[in-house]
């Protein structure tokens, strides 16, 4: 077991990765919150006259997911640089520890740190300043425990694995390459899906409600299986592929 995981070694690695990532995380935060402040909040206040209630959830979802995907794409940044990859691969830690440290930082670490910072941002920055600019606007503090926020976190938790796979396998331009691949796969999957359930898709139905038109039809099982695979298989599959990519990586 010591070959694969040693808590003391792992903590040393985590400390190293945190220090190395600190500047990147700081810049990502500066950009994210700067954009939120100037583009998100102020533009909403100025442009949308009819908006009298602001509750931050849209901004939270967008920035958590996009910021997290960008961060995950940078997870194994050293591997994209042939001069840095030798150092990274010969660093005395196991492949599992290297994977786990980056997974923790970009998945759970990002969710917790970003949500907490976002909460502080809404309470101490966005809402007081927003209220001063427009007295008619009402602001609600961001609630990281709301159903919506938890749901966004769950989606991010599952989907960020895809960008970890990209980070471990692509060399350079990881984020656009991963996006391109995801879109390509989505087009192929969507086309197949259309051929299988095209008729149903032509009908005027809402597929995500309790009135799911598939209920009672044979395709419903496929739909349930797809949902199950999304929530329970996609992330672990991506983590395993990421680990194997790191393990088999050569310079």
């Amino acid at each position: 077991m010591n070959h694969y995981f040693n808590i003391h070694r792992f903590l040393k690695l985590l400390k190293l990765e945190l220090f190395r990532s600190f500047r990147g995380i700081f810049i990502a935060f500066e950009i994210t919150f700067g954009m939120l402040f100037f583009v998100g909040l102020l533009m909403s206040v100025i442009v949308e006259d009819s908006l009298v209630f602001f509750e931050h959830t849209g901004g939270y979802a967008f920035t958590l997911i996009i910021g997290g995907f960008v961060l995950s794409s940078l997870a194994f940044n050293d591997l994209s640089n042939s001069l840095k990859s030798s150092n990274y691969l010969t660093l005395p830690a196991s492949t599992f520890e290297k994977f786990l440290s980056m997974w923790l930082l970009t998945s759970v670490g990002w969710i917790v740190f970003f949500s907490f910072t976002y909460y502080l941002y809404t309470v101490f920055v966005a809402n007081p300043i927003g209220s001063m600019i427009d007295a008619n606007m009402r602001f609600e503090d961001f609630d990281p425990w709301s159903d919506f926020a938890i749901s966004v976190m769950k989606y991010y938790f599952v989907l960020q694995g895809v960008f970890l796979v990209g980070a471990a396998h692509f060399k350079g331009y990881v984020f656009p390459k991963t996006l391109f691949t995801v879109i390509l796969v989505a087009i192929v999957a969507g086309t197949l899906f259309y051929f299988i359930m095209g008729d149903l898709m032509q009908e005027d139905n809402e597929c995500f409600s309790q009135m799911n038109p598939l209920i009672g039809k044979p395709a419903y099982k496929i739909w349930l299986l797809a949902q199950w695979a999304f929530w329970w298989l996609l992330a672990p599959f991506c983590w395993v592929v990421t680990y194997l990519g790191l393990k088999d990586r050569e310079v």
Partner: protein, 283 residues
């Protein structure tokens, strides 16, 4: 101990670089790895460090298979590559973050090496010159006390005083429990440091001898007129005459000239191998 047995390796869509390569490198030596451009020196070092994987054959370093990249193995090797990029952090921070991964890291020795190279102790790594960065990484690698230190072109970018400091520092750091493999084109920089000499040519180790054996079997001398006897292995024209490499039949001691030796081996390997035929070329 590095044990390479029947290793084959090649890059995708290129001719095979190594075919059935076998060599054994016991501990306690500073191996000098020489070879022409593209001979596969850096690839061999990367195979040993677990950064490339052999297609066939087996490769073990201190009982570990490098391709598994186990932490216990990685803490016993340190690789200083020819080209590198350092992290944007101070020297002290680098030592604080990286040294705990090496169980026998010696901070006092590191300080000694830094002093020997006249390096500052807490500059930002990115603000150092290329040569200073290289000397820092070399000092760090030596201070890890790892079993196998791999140096790829270590004197490239070093100024003249630093080259002799390099030889002094490296020679002082070797002991019976560790080995250094030094790959270089700068043969003159390595004279009196590397022993044995390994010459790689066309994917094979064509020469693997220590200084004692070389001086017993070959003699390198300068002459005005070229000799005509069969024992001549290699000749080179110089300003004042010729440098010749010939079989040492007289038992006289010869001054070693690594560049000339290398040229002799690469240009007439059959003859050299015949002279050393009682030695184990592929040990």
């Amino acid at each position: 101990m590095v044990q390479i047995e029947n290793v084959s390796f090649g890059y995708p869509s290129k001719p095979q670089l190594f075919e059935d390569l076998s060599v054994s490198l016991p501990m306690g030596n500073i191996y000098g790895l020489l070879g022409k451009n593209g001979a596969g020196k850096s690839s061999l070092l990367k195979l040993i460090a677990g950064l490339l994987f052999p297609k066939t054959g087996s490769l073990h370093v201190s009982g570990f298979s490098p391709r598994e990249r186990r932490p216990e193995f990685l803490s016993e090797i340190y690789l200083v590559t020819e080209e590198f990029e350092v992290s944007a952090m101070g020297m002290k921070r680098f030592v604080e973050l990286y040294s705990p991964f090496y169980p026998r890291f010696n901070h006092e020795l590191l300080q000694e090496y830094l002093n020997e190279f006249s390096l500052p102790t807490d500059e930002k790594l990115t603000s150092l010159s290329y040569g200073q960065k290289k000397k820092f990484l070399l000092s760090f690698g030596l201070a890890t006390d790892c079993q196998l230190l791999i140096l790829d072109e270590p004197t490239n970018g070093l100024d003249i005083p630093s080259k002799s400091q390099f030889r002094k520092v490296v020679a002082s750091a070797i002991h019976e429990e560790r080995s250094f493999i030094v790959s270089t084109h700068q043969a003159r920089d390595m004279e009196n440091l590397i022993d044995p000499i390994i010459i790689l040519d066309e994917g094979q180790i064509v020469f693997f001898e220590d200084y004692e054996q070389i001086s017993q079997r070959l003699i390198i001398s300068k002459v005005k007129e070229l000799p005509t006897h069969d024992g001549v292995v290699y000749t080179e024209s110089t300003f004042s005459g010729h440098t010749i490499v010939e079989e040492n039949t007289s038992g006289a001691e010869s001054n070693m000239n690594l560049e000339t030796l290398f040229n002799a081996v690469v240009n007439n390997k059959e003859k050299v191998q015949e002279i050393f035929k009682n030695q184990t070329i592929t040990r």
